[in-house]
């Protein structure tokens, strides 16, 4: 299951083609699941990017950061400021957000990476809480405190004004050279960026740099005895994942130009940890899978309520219907987080490698059963082929 080999260019191409096809046709194949509306698909993409980036740090090096939401927040704030001051075009917003988040990641990573293990987690946690608290208090001129940073009709938007674009009535929309940043076009912008982001992560996974990160995860001491200074590699991974988070934050601001401090709280970092682990940390597809499933289920289950449940079980006798509804209702709607928590615990307990590990186990089981039936003696060869 672990992507330990350097993949051939053909394999990578295959990966990219399949992923692009799956992502770009989402509006079609999500139709039967009732999830083919732009808001939700944008979320899939944005949090997918966030999780891919987080996976580069946690999945490859095993450093568990609880502070990545801070970078997401920085990205959002930067993007909204870019919308306010420069232009409603998303290009500068994305660039500035990614760079600034990278800068933040460099600062925080430089300090946090002096320690490892649980201390690293706590340091990142401390930094995230610091930024969250500051965003709510002293930095209010920049972050607009509890209200959140919003667009305003009277904003300067220097570049837009120079180009002669005036918002005539109401708030201007975010756009990419005329392409709207919301709705379906917004989804496609996010989708293309996700594909690019995935490509970068794919290259990192299969590069010597990625191998070194994996080596740090499996045995950091041996790594340093071999003569590697591990810290620069770790710091690079940290910065890259921070930039991914900033990118995700800027896209979040693109689809909904309102940045609030609650995006930076450490429980928000917990969410990306959840998504990454759920799918399978350290695998390429895992984080995307985890994000998709969690966001999809969140969307489905949080919309449930007692009436919906009653209708769902209406084919049952009344008493059974009532019992079932009573049992299930704490887990849906408002209580969806409860379900998520339970499922997450089960995953960590029984499948620490996430869904991808589960998939690997099942497929291995099927393969072994198949081999038993065929009854051949030369099964040695078979073992190495299945792994990607």
């Amino acid at each position: 299951m672990s992507n330990t080999q350097i993949a051939t260019p053909r394999q990578e191409l295959l990966y990219m083609v399949v992923l692009s096809a799956v992502v770009l046709t989402m509006p079609l194949w999500l139709q039967p699941f009732g999830a083919a509306y732009p808001d939700l698909m944008q979320k899939f993409m944005i949090f997918g990017i966030f999780a891919i980036g987080y996976n580069i740090l946690f999945g490859l090096t095993g450093y568990l950061s609880f502070g990545h939401a801070a970078f997401l927040g920085v990205g959002s704030y930067t993007a909204v400021w870019s919308f306010k001051l420069l232009s409603m075009n998303v290009v500068p917003a994305i660039i500035f957000a990614t760079l600034l988040a990278g800068l933040f990641a460099w600062l925080i990573g430089f300090v946090s990476l002096r320690r490892s293990g649980i201390y690293f987690s706590i340091l990142t946690l401390a930094f995230a809480q610091m930024s969250y608290n500051l965003a709510y208090s002293v930095l209010t001129p920049i972050t607009n405190g509890e209200t959140g940073l919003q667009l305003n009709q009277a904003d300067p938007r220097v570049i837009d004004r120079m180009a002669g674009i005036e918002a005539t009535s109401g708030l201007p929309n975010t756009n990419l050279f005329g392409l709207q940043g919301t709705g379906y076009s917004g989804f496609y912008i996010c989708a293309v960026i996700l594909i690019l982001a995935f490509f970068v992560s794919l290259r990192i996974f299969h590069s010597p740099f990625g191998m070194k990160l994996r080596a740090i995860k499996s045995n950091q001491t041996r790594m340093s005895y071999t003569g590697y200074n591990t810290r620069p590699y770790l710091l690079t991974a940290f910065i890259i994942s921070g930039m991914y988070a900033g990118l995700a934050g800027s896209l979040l601001a693109m689809t909904d130009p309102l940045a609030g401090a609650e995006r930076m709280q450490w429980t928000a970092s917990g969410e990306v940890v959840l998504m990454t682990i759920f799918g399978g940390a350290g695998t390429l597809i895992g984080p995307l899978l985890g994000t998709g499933i969690i966001k999809y289920l969140e969307n489905i289950f949080s919309a449930f309520n007692d009436t919906v449940l009653h209708n769902m079980f209406s084919f049952l006798p009344d008493w059974l219907n009532n019992i079932l509804t009573a049992i299930i209702s704490p887990f849906v709607g408002e209580g969806w987080q409860l379900l998520l928590g339970i499922v997450f615990m089960l995953i960590v307990i029984f499948l620490p490698g996430g869904l991808m590990e589960g998939y690997g186990k099942v497929s291995r089981m099927i393969r072994e059963r198949g081999q038993k039936n065929v009854d051949d003696g030369s099964s040695d060869k078979q073992h190495s082929t299945g792994e990607v």
């Binding site: 095993g62 568990l64 300090v111 002096r114 320690r115 490892s116 293990g117 649980i118 201390y119 987690s121 706590i122 340091l123 946690l125 401390a126 930094f127 809480q129 610091m130 608290n133 500051l134 709510y136 208090s137 002293v138 930095l139 450490w266 429980t267 917990g270 940890v273 682990i277 704490p330 408002e334 209580g335 987080q337 409860l338 998520l340 928590g341 339970i342 997450f344 615990m345 960590v348 307990i349 620490p352």
Partner: protein, 338 residues
């Protein structure tokens, strides 16, 4: 002078809460080697023990109000008042002290249940996995509480007799202007008592001695024929009780809501790290120290020099400590230094 004195009191009081939570956290880490992210949730569950007690004690029935004669007026009257009159009202008034008594067995049971059903399977797994699974557990606990009690803070009041403020200034000759809420003084006292109780339990009883031996060298203790795992289970329960009591006592200070635990968790982890992982004294000392630092930094004089310092001082201290003295203020050499 007055202001400084008050800030010290404030800090000690806040520090008491930090120290209590951090004590439990360290106890679990030192004995079981488990990083427990659900500890904050246990604190929160403790607070909701008090809320539940209050709900039970004030179970009410509608009774005709005799003072209104023109029409039939009804008012909610708790059963306790109906049955026992003034004694009943007094019982309701003393809900927090009663919940302390009730919460001890409840929290002990919860702690033991948690350890037996979940935590013990994670002794051998990595710290990251321990963090993740207890994080999941924390989410589950807080969402359960949210399901039953809703998302809004629920106030629980302290007994009337300690409602006001103590004229603490006149006791020590600082003038009558210096006053401090009774309940928070009690909280401070209470935390000192609990902390000393835990320390005496570990230091002056045979049971505690065995536990300490187990902390130092688990295998040897097991070889001597002692069922150390069972004692560790009890210690986990004890840690839960300490956190739970801290939660119960904190309800009059701050009305509890379901995510209170998460807010305290981060702080208490920082406290543990500053004190030194696995050092009980360190946890307590760091708790009080950080409490005092925080309350001083929230003085307007300090804030006008460095704006926003009150929001980040604790984390800032933690970062500095972690970078300059990796094992914390009082951590033992070699314990979790990396």
């Amino acid at each position: 002078m007055d202001a400084i004195f008050l800030q010290i009191l404030n800090g000690l009081d806040k520090g008491g809460a930090y120290a209590l939570i951090a004590l439990g956290l360290t106890l679990v880490f030192g004995t079981l080697g488990v990083v427990n992210f659900a500890h904050g949730a246990i604190f929160m569950v403790g607070a909701f023990c008090a809320v539940t007690m209050e709900k039970i004690l004030t179970l009410s029935v509608k009774v005709k109000d005799p003072s209104v004669t023109f029409f039939d007026a009804y008012k909610e009257t708790p059963y306790l008042e109906l049955w026992f009159g003034n004694t009943g009202s007094a019982i309701i008034d003393w809900v927090v002290p009663i919940s302390i008594v009730v919460s001890i067995p409840v929290m002990l049971g919860l702690g033991i249940l948690m350890e037996r059903s979940l935590i013990r399977y994670f002794y051998k797994r990595s710290h990251a996995e321990q963090i993740l699974v207890t994080f999941g557990l924390a989410i589950v606990l807080q969402e359960l509480v949210k399901t039953f009690f809703g998302a809004n803070p629920i106030p629980v009041s302290a007994p009337d007799i300690v409602a006001g403020s103590a004229a603490i200034g006149s006791w020590i000759g600082l003038g009558d202007a210096v006053v401090y809420p009774w309940w928070r003084l009690i909280y401070l006292l209470f935390s000192v008592v609990i902390i000393s109780a835990v320390f005496s339990f570990l230091n002056f009883t045979t049971y505690g001695m065995v536990v300490r031996a187990g902390m130092a060298d688990r295998e040897t203790v097991e070889l001597l024929g002692i069922d150390i795992e069972r004692r560790f289970t009890i210690v986990f329960g004890l840690a839960a009780v300490v956190a739970g009591l801290a939660g119960v006592m904190y309800t009059p200070v701050l009305p509890p809501d379901y995510h209170q635990g998460m807010d305290f968790l981060v702080l208490s982890f920082v406290v543990v790290v500053v004190g030194g992982m696995g050092s009980l004294r360190g946890a307590v000392a760091a708790g009080f120290l950080l409490g005092i630092l925080q309350s001083f930094s929230s003085m307007t004089e300090v804030k006008s020099i460095i704006p926003g310092i009150d929001q980040i001082i604790i984390y800032l201290v933690a970062v500095i400590i972690l970078l300059t003295r990796p094992r914390g203020l009082m951590g033992r050499r070699g314990v979790m230094e990396n």
